[in-house]
Symmetry: C2
Subunit: 179 residues, 2 copies
């Protein structure tokens, strides 16, 4: 696992290879954050990314600065929780671990059925999947959040999805930097 100092030395391709998975199927967030180094080095006091929290903040700023359409594509790149892709073993390595940590694997058919129903209802209402940071929420909390958030407005859920994606990316960054 690379250190932050090593990441600071990487070219755009290596940087994206290492951090491209932080935002689900959306390596452009890492790529365009690398471009920020140029601006930062003229402002900055030390190397481009002095600590993990700064790198995380710049990644989030890249995501927040993207057009609504690209944000929506990022949101839509996420799999359902306990959904069909999970059942078929077709999640990214990161999502597989995260969903397992929330106890979303190995449920009985009844509980799987409850997730499918809520997933489908959420998607039908908002046009994108329900996103929550699975590592920060156990199965019961996730079910309860699904039931609550489905009453929100599309605007609120777009914002909630991006906020959860930031938490997911922050934890994935910690994994990448773990020594």
């Amino acid at each position: 696992m690379p250190t932050l100092a090593e990441i600071n030395e990487m070219d755009r391709a290596a940087f994206t290879a290492v951090l491209g998975g932080l935002f689900e199927h959306s390596p452009w967030v890492a790529e365009e954050t690398w471009d920020r180094r140029l601006g930062l080095s003229s402002l900055g006091e030390a190397g481009p990314f002095r600590e993990a929290a700064q790198l995380q903040a710049e990644l989030c700023a890249t995501m927040r600065g993207a057009s609504r359409e690209r944000q929506l594509a990022l949101i839509r790149a996420h799999p359902d929780l306990a959904g069909r892709l999970a059942l078929a073993g077709k999640l990214t390595a990161e999502s597989t671990r995260e969903q397992a940590s929330a106890g979303l694997t190995g449920m009985g058919a009844d509980e799987f059925g409850a997730f499918q129903k809520l997933n489908d209802a959420y998607r039908a209402r908002f046009g994108f999947p329900f996103i929550i940071c699975a590592r920060l929420n156990a199965r019961a909390a996730i079910l309860s959040a699904m039931q609550t958030r489905i009453s929100n407005t599309p605007e609120q859920e777009h914002a909630a999805a991006l906020a959860e994606i930031e938490k997911i990316a922050g934890l994935r960054l910690q994994d990448v930097l773990k020594t």
Copy 2:
């Protein structure tokens, strides 16, 4: 109150005048975030700050990129909650409103005394004031957080302070943009 479009048109001085109060006694965060516009306009798809969440993310990235010393100065620029400055009516306008919203004004002498004691113990341990977003926490929750967080490490409390400062700045930004 300016709109985001108006803020995007402002020069550095006006931008800092409008947003300089988001980070307590630390207008440099706004100032240096204005400088980011230059980098962003070469990357960006639309105007420098397309929405409030993006401006907020860039402000936070500026704070996260500052040296440890400047971050510490920012933390130290915050007043105690229900502290001596509050009693003397010497808080910034923002802090005055925020502390009032948490029910920190007009307490009895006993409860004020409890706050002073915890404030002093926290400062003695960490060398900076206890920071929490008062608008998101009622008086009892704040007291309880003080009692818990005082057992944290200095590293954890430096991180907690910056995370709370981000929440405070986010709510202050909403106030600035409110129409």
